[in-house]
Amino acid sequence: MAGELIKLTAAELAARIASGEVTAVEAAEAHLARIEAVDEKINAFLHVDREGALAQAREVDAKRERGEQLGPLAGVPLALKDLFTTEGVPTTAGSKILEGWIPPYDATVTKRLKDADVVVLGKTNMDEFAMGSSTENSAYGPTANPWDLTRIPGGSGGGSAASLAAHMAPLAIGTDTGGSIRQPAAVTGTVGVKPTYGGVSRYGMIAFSSSLDQGGPCARTVLDAALLHSVIAGHDEKDSTSIDQPVPDIVAAARNGTAQGMRVGVVKEFRGEGYQAGVMQRFDESVELLRELGAEIVELSCPSFTKALAAYYLIAPSECSSNLARFDAMRYGMRTGDDGTHSAEEVTALTREAGFGPEVKRRVMLGTYALSSGYYDAYYGSAQKVRTLITRDFAKAFEQVDVVVSPTTPTTAFPIGERVDDPMAMYLADLCTIPSNLAGNSAMSIPCGLAPEDGLPVGLQIIAPAMADDRLYRVGAALEAAFQARWGHPLLEEAPSL
């Protein structure tokens, strides 16, 4: 029974809970047991809120017994990235500097999940402050990829993606600043969506790079992602950058997948040196499949995309250098060196030195540099101009096509430790995902097979214009159905058992 429950999709599980076939408590317990059994190997969770989850599940069951209307995901367990504040439940952002911090307030996403009766199992591992592409930058140890425990699960949301791939949760929440939802989805064989910037509230989501950060859904199927997306999306008056417009009907799109008549763009800048052969092979097959599904394929060029990575590594560090200044040992979090001999200023510097890991320090210094007087125009200012060019390239592309597709990542999951001290190599993992963050449009990664040379999952990225997130789901659902028809089962079934 329990073994079966953890294999269900969120949509299926919700239906069984709603019908009374399964209780929310049973669902929560099955997943908690799974976490107990396998997370020692994966390290996807930083904190499991067993009591909180069970209490919430009991509440859902009670509501059902009272005959109250349940939401479409009521009682479904979820793994929440530790970047979102949770009142009364520890929140660390994967950093030592926030070890033991218990927020006095809920993020808007946290609140909407609770309001929708989604059962939050715990908080997932991540690169410190979401800075990284491998989850190796967590202060609490790396997360392993369920497909191969010696490999990275992607990052920064490696914990969320791994929890799905290892069936510890059917749903998860991630955040995507440069690919942190899509790249982990790609390398773990799961689905991840970066909504349009402003589509999901950032209130209570610990800021890395404010103009790029976007929370979004992670799931094992396109429909599950849509259901979760619709729970967390929508205007929030607490976030000034939140879009005050209705969310497109993404659930209907996911239920009615089709590529028929769609114009699909293939951007020539998304291939070449650094792209793994097996990744490109699966990508080309996906394009072929789209053509078979009735899509029209259009070759495009977006020349400014070649500068996207450079612009990103100026904008994101600049904003983070300012966003992370609040971690100063004065009001919350870690404090080091307060022994009566050090001033407040020194205690701040000692604490930040001890509390931040090397990648955070690197980016904080890089951003401090890029914003300094004398360098601003050459670096930060220019990066913002590149951002304009990238937005124009997208605008031009979307005049010709409905969606753009690309590989999500240039390679499959690389071995843990391989790039940890080679920042530039690490940064390449986000080559294909970054342009959408810079432009603010929506994008999704779905599994498109295993690379022949290493047997690891490959992700296909679908990119849509801002506020047209429904196109992702329409095309994604069509492809997902076609792939599964071809494979005869969901890709995750090919993962080794844990």
Binding site: P104, Y203, A207, K238, S373
Partner: protein, 502 residues
């Protein structure tokens, strides 16, 4: 600290030409903070008016207070500024424990208002135009208390305690262009500018602008250049000069100090300085060598502010009569000289007088009481006129009692005294103290008879036609009634009884 021997003010001005810049921060009187819904009410318990946003908790985000923007636009319009069609907030990055995010959300190269001016009137009536560079929106910091030092100052303190109730309260920073050409009147211009700005802010109703409460704070930047040269000298920045008088004194002191340094061949270093109320001097703060690099960049958590033309015009429609023009009008209405009006302004009596007149008192009477008795009393107590425990309505009532003949000047003064002493309103004081003029015929008649009987020689003189001698009899009546008699009526009765025509 090196003590610089100051040169005399006249000597300084003989060789140098002062250039001033004034930066004024005004705390707005909005109900909530600039970027969150926390109350701005004064006097709350420490850290009881903070939320995730103004406490800088991880994940929290700002949302702009519309009333803050409105106030900024209205201040800009009143200062004859241009209003930006599109502008952004920026982050000013520096670490300080009283600033929760370690950046101040402010505006940088896109202020909401810019290129304006404020005409200020000097004591002799000369009008001096102070050019305004910009007015921009930002937020206040928290408040630190230093513990363990002898005096509660930062030096020697073992630790500090932080209360963030004030963190995030809206501030408008108003910056002048370099003020040139004021010459020896620079300190006076500085004072008059801050005074006029304060009047303007109060008239707009955007802040009470009470300098003693820190609701309005002024930084005085000053440099000297040798007479006849164009290039500005190095400036000093005297921070937080918090009264009108201090603004004048600080400017004056810095002129003398700069002159002393320069004429002895020294150089001025660009630094912040602290003003000392006790002796009017300034001392060196932090040298600016470790040049602050604020790394300003557009605030990504807030979207741009783009006031529409219609909105700006609507706000323009809410502007009150500008204080200088209003004073001009009142001066004419009251029929007083420019100099007298200036005294009224200096005493902070404009509004009390206007309110008293509005309550029915004649302007000259209202002015007489507020500028005389009450100004003297406020001065003695060291408080603002408006802080005295008497209202314009009560003064108006006293004027009415005088006009109807129930009180004379002396009794009115005693009534005011009683009101100030907390004995109640004017009527109550008159009643309790028994101050009403004695005008009933019986009592007055008796007093008159007694006065005539007691001074037969004088009575005889009056009978003989020396009418002016009646004054002595009136004096006797007044003495007998302890000043409560209606003097005019007494005189009339004396003349009647002595059978002469008045």
């Amino acid at each position: 600290m090196t003590v610089t021997e100051l040169v005399s003010y006249d000597e300084a001005l003989a060789s140098y030409d002062p250039v001033m810049g004034l930066e004024v921060h005004v705390e707005l009187g909005t109900r909530t903070k600039m970027f969150c819904g926390c109350s701005t009410e004064l006097g709350a318990e420490p850290n009881s008016q903070v939320c995730p946003t103004c406490l800088g908790l991880p994940g929290a985000l700002p949302v702009v207070n519309k009333a803050g923007v409105e106030s900024a636009v209205r201040i800009g319009l009143a200062l004859n500024c241009r209003i930006a069609e599109w502008c952004r907030f920026a982050r000013k990055n520096y670490f300080y424990p009283d600033m929760p995010k370690n950046f101040q959300t402010s505006q940088y190269d896109e202020p909401i208002a810019f290129d304006g001016y404020l005409d200020v009137q000097l004591e002799d009536g000369e009008v001096f135009r102070v050019e305004i560079e910009r007015a921009h929106m930002e937020e206040d910091t928290g408040k630190s208390t230093h513990v363990g030092g002898a005096t509660g100052r930062i030096h020697g303190a073992s630790h500090s305690l932080l209360d963030y109730n004030r963190a995030g309260i809206p501030l408008i920073e108003i910056v002048t262009k370099p003020i040139v050409g004021a010459g020896e009147r620079a300190p006076e211009v500085a004072k008059a500018y801050v005074a006029e700005l304060r009047e303007l802010i109060k008239a707009l109703g955007v802040s009470e602008a009470r300098m003693e409460m820190g609701q309005m704070r002024c930084d005085v930047n000053l440099s000297l250049r040798p007479k006849g040269t164009e290039k500005f000298g190095t400036r000093s920045e005297t921070k937080n000069v918090n009264s009108l008088r201090s603004v004048e004194r600080a400017a004056r002191f810095e002129i003398q100090r700069h002159a002393a340094v320069l004429s002895s061949g020294g150089t001025i270093i660009q630094e912040t300085r602290h003003f000392h109320e006790d002796d009017g001097s300034t001392t060196s703060g932090r040298a600016k060598e470790e040049a602050e690099d604020y790394r300003y960049f557009p605030e990504p958590d807030l979207v741009p502010v783009a006031p529409s033309l219609e909105w700006v015009e609507e706000l323009r429609g809410t502007l009150p009569e500008l204080p200088r023009l209003r004073r001009k009008r009142l001066q004419e209405e009251w029929g007083i000289s420019e100099h007298e009006m200036q005294s009224v302004l200096n005493a902070g009596a404009v509004d009390p007088i206007v309110t008293t007149v509005d309550a029915g008192a004649p302007a000259d009477q209202a002015r007489k009481w507020w500028m005389g008795e009450l100004a003297r009393r406020a001065n003695e107590d060291g408080v603002e006129l408006t802080a005295l425990p008497i209202t314009p309505a009560q003064i108006a009532r006293i004027c009415a009692l005088v006009a109807e003949g129930s009180l004379n000047d002396k009794l009115a003064r005693q009534t005011i005294e009683g009101v100030l002493a907390g004995e109640g309103g004017p009527d109550e004081v008159v009643e309790k103290r028994g101050l009403k003029i004695v005008s009933d015929e019986g009592a007055l008649g008796t007093a008159v008879d007694e006065a005539i009987a007691g001074n037969p020689d004088i009575a005889e003189k009056v009978r003989g036609g020396k009418i002016q001698a009646a004054g002595a009899l009136v004096g006797a009546v007044m003495k007998a009634t302890r000043g409560q008699a209606d003097a005019a009526r007494a005189r009339q009765m004396i003349l009647e009884k002595l059978g002469v025509e008045g």
